[in-house]
Symmetry: C2
Subunit: 418 residues, 2 copies
């Protein structure tokens, strides 16, 4: 089964907007077992839309449009498709009700322009758009399926997930596909691949593994195809349990989630608080933690100690420790962690001191050398990392490593509590 994605909008062609819709749609179709042959971006022009549709029909079975369904003068897609399929326009009552519902929530009056959004070509099956006013449209012609969706990302995504993908699976009787996501941190892609080689080599042939790396994190996606969805789910769960034995410390979640979400959830569940003392990460760990709504329940604060005098005066690091060992050292980072934990009265604290670069590296301590310590009731631990030469990646990877050390400690605590 093959598909083409056609994104309509002048803003894509002049580079004002990056086409994230296309990559999201491509990933969803791929997950559903549908091969994307081409992605095409064109202008809000009737002749271009017709031409693109003609050419796509020669290439693929499924054509998915997004964009050009707004209520303004750019609204050219619906009119063009109605003409293309020689179809009258009719009112779609559920979509009109939907428009009225949305406007009543916003306390706006429904104007004639808005009412017209509920009109669709007679020859399509309208797809109710519960997150916006423009309905999607599903056409069938000589065995091909042509779908038109709005370009607003939330509306397109909701329609794709709730309507388009399930209908495509039914229409083309696609095999069931089950996906499970595993989040890992602290290991690069190739190192991780080496570690789980035996497990990966023994995966059954109907199960595929994808490595999806981003700085500091590798997302693993396991996909299984078959007829019995429930059996596939169970099979993947068993495979994941086996995977965990290979990399128990690297996995931080079986979800599409961030490390700061997972750590936040653990802290909240266990009723613990945390603080940070940051040198090279410059407040980035605190920023990640506080990007989560409700983080005030477990995060008290942070001392960003970029200058040595701040390490001494605000965290109680000893001048002589700085002089004898340097700011990037096990001794200093431990004093930073102990200092912030004591002064901010938290259960846990984490401290980071490293050389983010591009300057400041030496032969003994090159750019990327980073010490991280965590302190907790009755203990303190530190670990040295080497993150490489790039400043922004160093900051990101150091912050993730720090969060992961807190996570590991929290999970261990949980074990003791059991």
């Amino acid at each position: 089964m093959t598909a083409e994605i056609i994104n309509i909008g002048d803003e894509l062609l002049i580079g004002q907007v990056v086409n994230t819709n296309a990559s999201w749609m491509g990933a969803e179709l791929n997950k559903a077992g549908i091969q994307v042959k081409q992605i095409t971006s064109i202008a809000d022009e009737a002749s271009d839309i017709r031409k693109a549709l003609d050419q796509a029909k020669e290439r693929v079975d499924i054509i998915l449009f997004s964009g050009g369904l707004g209520p303004t003068k750019d609204d050219i897609t619906k009119k063009t498709l109605a003409e293309y399929f020689n179809s009258e326009m009719v009112f779609h009552e559920p979509s009109l009700e939907n428009v009225k519902r949305i406007f009543s929530v916003l306390n706006f009056e429904v104007t004639e322009v808005n009412r017209l959004q509920a009109m669709v070509p007679e020859k399509c099956s309208p797809l109710l758009n519960r997150t916006g006013t423009a309905p999607g449209m599903w056409f069938e012609q000589s065995g091909k399926v042509i779908v038109s969706m709005p370009g607003v990302p939330l509306e397109m995504k909701t329609l794709m997930s709730e309507e388009v993908i399930p209908r495509l699976q039914k229409h083309f009787r696609l095999e069931a596909i089950v996906h499970k996501t595993v989040m890992t941190t602290g290991m690069g892609e190739s190192f991780l691949a080496e570690k789980i080689k035996d497990w990966e080599d023994n995966l059954p042939s109907h199960v595929k593994l994808a490595y999806l790396p981003q700085p500091g994190i590798v997302r693993l996606r396991l996909s299984a195809k078959g007829s019995d969805k429930e059996a596939l789910e169970n099979e993947l769960d068993q495979l994941l349990r086996r995977l965990e034995q290979y990399i128990p410390k690297a996995i931080f979640g079986y979800c599409d989630c961030t490390l700061e979400e997972v750590v936040g959830k653990l802290l909240k569940e266990q009723g613990k608080t945390v603080s940070t003392a940051e040198s090279c990460t410059g407040g980035y760990i605190a920023h990640l933690i506080t990007s989560i709504a409700g983080s005030s329940a477990y995060f008290k604060g942070s001392v960003v100690s970029y200058a040595n005098e701040v390490k001494i005066e605000q965290l109680g690091v000893l001048q002589e420790t700085l002089e004898n060992h340097g700011a990037v050292s096990e001794e200093v980072v431990k004093q930073m962690a102990a200092g912030v934990r004591e002064r901010l009265h938290t259960d846990f604290s984490v401290a980071v001191s490293g050389i983010a670069g591009p300057d400041g590296g030496t032969e003994e301590k090159p750019v990327g050398t980073t010490w991280i310590a965590i302190a907790y009731e009755g203990g303190i631990k530190a670990k040295k990392f080497h993150f490489g030469p790039q400043r922004d990646r160093n900051i990101r990877r150091a912050a993730l490593a720090a969060l992961n050390m807190i996570r590991q400690e929290l999970i261990q605590e949980n074990y003791f509590a059991l």
Copy 2:
């Protein structure tokens, strides 16, 4: 003059990579006065590449390929184009020298596979790729120009800026186009448009204005077309001087730059230091400041005081001020700014306290209500902002507003010094 961008790569179709190359290329072509008619992403497949090229030739004058020029088995683009143009392969000596130079820097040996990268079809003009090993290729056929570039963003961008755009301008004798960028913050797009309406309405017809908004920042781009480049430059400079009179406080740079870069530069030039005291921004201002290499010259540190007890103990905020006025108040944010400036011994400090949301809002202080104060030798100022309901945007906009307050104060200082 019309163009089509064709991006080659399986990773684009399965959504593993967002096609930022296409939007960057679209923006550059648009700036050069070339209209992009279509953007097409296809797989690393010879037949798909041939078909896409045939169809693009019917639509446009210029066809720009990126991707598929690596040394691995996916390297299909070059072979396909050589066959398409019935062309033998020949060695391009400057590209071979370039490969050798790059490998000697990396201390790697040049293998046969790498040597082959310097081969190009005889019928193209090779474009030397100084940031990578695969040369670009420029073909001409029946008045059309077809260019192939690597997909690695840095390599593509260097080739586009240094080779492709200048050659296109010369080949098609395009009019000169001059662009000037103005960075503004603190005003939404529509409010800004209202403020500069008179100026915009009086722009000469050969000068175009584009609004390029992002959260908290609106970038303005002024473009002028004509025959005399120098005269256009002077004309735009004069128009910008007039624009500054309409929005003197909102403009933070005449560059494609960030506010944290501009503030950092001013602090460095004036030999001043800064610290931050952050509640709702949770360390994000400190993170922005320290994302700039060399920021240790002017940034000493930060106290992230999420909990009230941290405001009291680490910043010296008075308990009774918190009780009488609440944490989000002029009084508290001023004490935070004064406290961090005194304790971290900096010339400037900035403090932020607000309700980031989604919870914590009241009728009197809805989500988005934010107080920002700056302290400096002999003075302290505070200002109230309303940023709206979205947590991530509140954090971002509050941080930008805080940086802009420091910038305004630094510029004023400069005035006094003159």
